[in-house]
């Protein structure tokens, strides 16, 4: 592929993330006159979209093409298609008529962060209103042209028709006039029964890129003159850099600079040493010569064991109240039997397949171009203040590309790699790509929290539960680096179901303060609470001599949505069917992030090996956009959650994470994954619930409940080896 003035067409298309078909402007005319060293004006994908923007999200060309900008970072959850689909529905255009273009990061697009399985939930109604408003101005424009009332007109497939006639006008023909009309404040929204797009399977537009190596991920950014960086950081996460051998590193061929960089992790300024070179290989070779020394004595004493012991000491404390229903302490005195057990889960790494990376070019003319594979890509104001750019010029002078993300899972909501890379580029005034090695990515955190759960159940004379307490001991995310808040952090009790009809329920949080940094991880505290809670509910059910699924149905009668999901699971999983001795089944149900998910896991022991032939899942996520994505996110959460349950933990030893790469921090692979996953989606008219995370909390307890069914062995500490049950 010939380079034109140093800019390669294929690279260019990748950088801007737009398909060749979208490129209306002659490529050579753009590249003409640019030398390798000249400051290239940063060109964003939306710069190429021709037409009139009735709103930053919707651009309609007089020639016909309708573009809807996909403005939320796409990390595999399908949001790049889901949000445009909502707009298209009310706009009355067919998906085939729409070009979906991935936008840059810019405040003109509103909020562009992803996390908490929030976006569809938050944007559903606003995006419907947006599509409907634009449709209504189109109809008004047509009505004006024909001299008729809007009720004589009808919009369909990007055209407005005058009812009872052959007259029609396309949106392209109407857009100029429509752009002069005021958008209605309260547009009419369609009835669900009239939906043509929402709720139906729809093919994702990014997939053809992803099967041919053409999708632009952050790590693929290739501006001209790129330098590559790698950073050596303190193995114990915190510690002071005392020395390193700069000369030895500079002597390595290809190395151009050695400098320190600092990232802020929840209030701790962590300094590392960056090696910058003409190739990534040279940078990593240089890094091997660093011999960095750290003053980190204080941190070397920390271990998963020491953390566990400290948590255990806290388990008797009352902590913060979450829910107190009835009087649990009284029930302890009134009851005739008590069960008390401890559930525990370890630190985990996010382990996106694309390791952390960033590309930043702080240019000699004071502007900046960024490739930000981030869940929070609007980094302009932060960089502007570092560059002395006034805030009102930040968006003009700092352009931020939004590549595809090779996984996020929460980790990419921390922009530490962007900040490190920015510091390097600011120093060198050259484009720099910082890549975290897999070892860096696994060991440096921040991590999913390590937790301990003290579970207690009180039984009455009839052997039925009269009291239940879930006391959760852990660090909290939002209080790190912010001491003295003195109230229950909002995030920590996710996934603890206190609806169960037991007279006395107590759920409490005892805060542990630790040095190991933690962060949002797929389903956050749902991932740890769900395991303890639903594992213990199972124990209580069995202690009460009841079928675990039926126990839940009977005790969730006050919550019809839960009961419907459970009854559907009972049916679809054929729950009452007796299994042969070498098979087992377990189930769990958790509500998190706006949706209810129940899994039934089936296990089979054959030829000395335990496998997972099937998982049956039922989800109530209210109104959904693309059922294919609902299924895909469930399949995804199941594998992510099973990995967490069965594969390696992050063990802290002498202050450092032990597991570094896929040889010691192993992942679930094709051969150990469930052979079949069946998904059943509840149909109702409830508001949309999240889908990126809710499938995760119930999978680990469903699995260990199945292990109990198969073997009589109760697993209360993760991870465990399925082959050793």
């Amino acid at each position: 592929m010939e380079a034109t003035n140093g800019i390669n067409r294929r690279k260019f298309l990748k950088i801007t993330g737009i398909s060749g078909a979208m490129l209306a402007v002659g490529f050579d005319s753009l590249a003409a006159g640019l030398s390798k060293d000249s400051v290239v004006k940063a060109i964003m994908a939306e710069d190429f979209v021709d037409g009139t923007a009735l709103h930053p999200f919707v651009i309609i060309s007089e020639e016909g093409p309708i573009t809807i900008m996909a403005t939320i970072p796409e990390l595999g959850q399908g949001i790049n298609q889901g949000i445009p689909a909502i707009i298209a529905e009310e706009l009355e255009v067919d998906l085939e008529q729409v070009n979906i273009v991935k936008s840059s990061a810019s405040r003109k697009y509103g909020a562009q962060s992803i996390g908490g399985s929030r976006n569809t939930r938050m944007l559903y109604t606003p995006m419907r209103k947006l599509g409907a408003s634009i449709k209504e101005v189109m109809v008004q424009a047509a009505a004006n042209r024909w001299g008729v009332g809007t009720s004589d007109c009808e919009a369909k497939s990007g055209m407005v028709h005058q009812k009872g006639t052959q007259k029609s006008l396309s949106y392209g023909e109407l857009v100029k006039e429509a752009s002069k009309l005021d958008m209605p404040e309260k547009p009419m929204l369609k009835a669900k029964k009239d939906f043509k797009i929402i709720g139906k399977p729809m093919p994702r537009p990014d997939l053809s890129l992803k099967v041919s190596g053409r999708a632009d991920y952050g790590i693929d950014a290739q501006p001209e003159g790129l330098l590559y960086a790698t950073v050596e950081r303190c193995p114990t996460l915190q510690g002071t850099l005392t020395s390193y051998d700069k000369d030895a590193v500079m002597a390595v061929p290809g190395v151009v600079k050695v400098m320190t960089v600092t990232r802020n992790v929840y209030g701790n300024e962590n300094t590392g040493v960056a090696v910058i070179a003409e190739s990534y290989f040279a940078a990593t070779q240089g890094r091997k010569k660093l011999n960095a020394q750290w003053d980190n004595e204080a941190f070397t004493k920390i271990s998963s064991e020491s953390i566990r012991e400290e948590m255990l000491e806290l388990a008797d404390q009352d902590g913060y109240e979450h829910v107190e229903k009835g009087n649990f302490n009284q029930s302890q005195m009134d009851g005739s039997g008590e069960v008390e057990v401890l559930y525990e889960l370890p630190y985990l790494s996010h382990t996106c397949m694309e390791p952390m990376n960033a590309t930043v070019h702080v240019k000699t003319d004071g502007t900046c171009e960024v490739w930000a594979p981030s869940q929070r890509p609007q980094i302009q104001r932060q960089f502007a203040s570092e560059l002395g750019i006034p805030e009102n010029e930040a968006e003009d002078k700092i352009k931020v590309h939004m590549p595809y993300l090779g996984g996020g899972f929460g980790r990419r909501s921390m922009n530490d790699s962007l900040v490190e890379c920015f510091q390097i580029s600011k120093e060198l005034k050259k484009p720099v790509k910082l890549i975290w090695s897999r070892e860096d990515d696994t060991t440096q955190g921040p991590f999913r929290q390590q937790t301990m759960h003290r579970m207690k159940a009180i039984f009455g004379e009839d052997g039925k539960p009269i009291g239940l307490q879930h006391k959760m001991i852990s660090q909290a995310i939002t209080t790190q680096g912010r001491p003295g808040r003195n109230r229950l952090p909002f995030e920590v009790m996710e996934g603890i179901n206190t609806h169960y009809d037991i007279d006395n329920i107590s759920s409490r949080f005892v805060e542990y303060t630790g040095q190991v940094p933690i962060h949002w991880w797929r389903s956050v505290f749902g991932s740890t609470n769900g395991f303890a809670h639903e594992g213990f509910i199972d124990e209580v059910a069995i202690q009460a001599n009841e079928d675990p699924l039926q126990f839940r149905i009977e005790r969730l009668r006050s919550e019809p949505r839960f009961v419907k999901v459970l009854e559907r699971l009972k049916k679809e999983a054929n729950w009452d069917q007796k299994l042969p001795d070498n098979e087992g089944k377990g189930m769990a149900i958790v509500e998190s992030f706006g949706s209810i998910v129940a899994h039934a896991v089936f296990l089979k022991k054959e030829n000395g090996k335990v496998s997972i032939p099937k998982v049956v899942s039922v989800v109530d996520c209210g109104t959904y956009i693309n059922p294919n994505q609902v299924e895909a996110q469930l399949e995804s959460s199941i594998v992510y959650g099973l990995t967490a349950a069965m594969k390696d933990p992050i063990t802290i030893k002498d202050g450092a994470a032990v597991q570094a790469n896929f040889d010691t921090y192993r992942m679930l692979r094709m051969n150990e994954a469930p052979r079949a996953v069946e998904v059943h989606i509840m149909e109702n008219d409830e508001a949309p619930g999240g889908m990126g995370e809710p499938g995760l909390p119930p999978i680990a307890p469903a699995l260990t409940n199945a292990v109990y069914d198969l073997t009589g062995k109760r697993i209360r500490s993760l991870p465990f080896d399925l082959q050793k049950v």
Partner: protein, 157 residues
């Protein structure tokens, strides 16, 4: 640094690199084909899978010196327009989520189907368990391989 002639997807590229540079980085950064991905650097995850002389290799663990003059195929080279039966099956089954691992998955699947046009589930486990997918698309990959297998087997009749 040394100069190498790399034959990739039917084209010859002259590159200059340290002989020990993993082929992965030369393909990505010197030749500019970024479809092949870095996932681990120790041949454990499969994201870097390319074909050398028709066989799947982990390009993160092959020095460029060893790849010189060999015939290399990357994800960009298996078709001009996503028309390879494996690519078509991948789209039909809506396999990719984040998609980062999928170049490697597809290269491994193409290789499997060349050796065994009608693989069993055990064959699939065996051939594909070297490729990690963090988004959990394994059941769809399996389904897509069976679909592609039908097209490939019919085509060869």
């Amino acid at each position: 640094m040394a100069k190498y002639q790399l034959k990739i997807n039917g084209n010859t590229h002259e590159v200059e690199a340290d002989p020990q540079t993993p082929l992965l980085w030369v393909i990505r950064d010197e030749v500019g084909l970024t479809g092949t991905k870095y996932g681990c650097g120790i041949a454990q995850c499969g994201a870097c899978t390319v074909h050398m002389n028709g066989n799947p290799i982990r390009s993160c663990s092959v020095p460029v010196a060893a790849a010189s003059t060999q015939s290399i195929t990357t994800i960009e080279g298996i078709s001009e327009d996503q028309s390879h039966p494996v690519q078509k099956a991948w789209i039909e089954a809506q396999v990719p989520q984040c998609g980062y691992c999928q170049s490697g998955q597809i290269m491994s699947a193409v290789s499997l189907l060349k050796r065994k046009p009608s693989p069993s589930d055990e064959d699939i486990d065996s051939a594909m368990s070297g490729n990690i997918c963090r988004c959990g698309t394994y059941t769809r990959i399996r389904k897509a391989i069976h679909t592609a297998s039908k097209e490939i087997s019919n085509g060869s009749n």
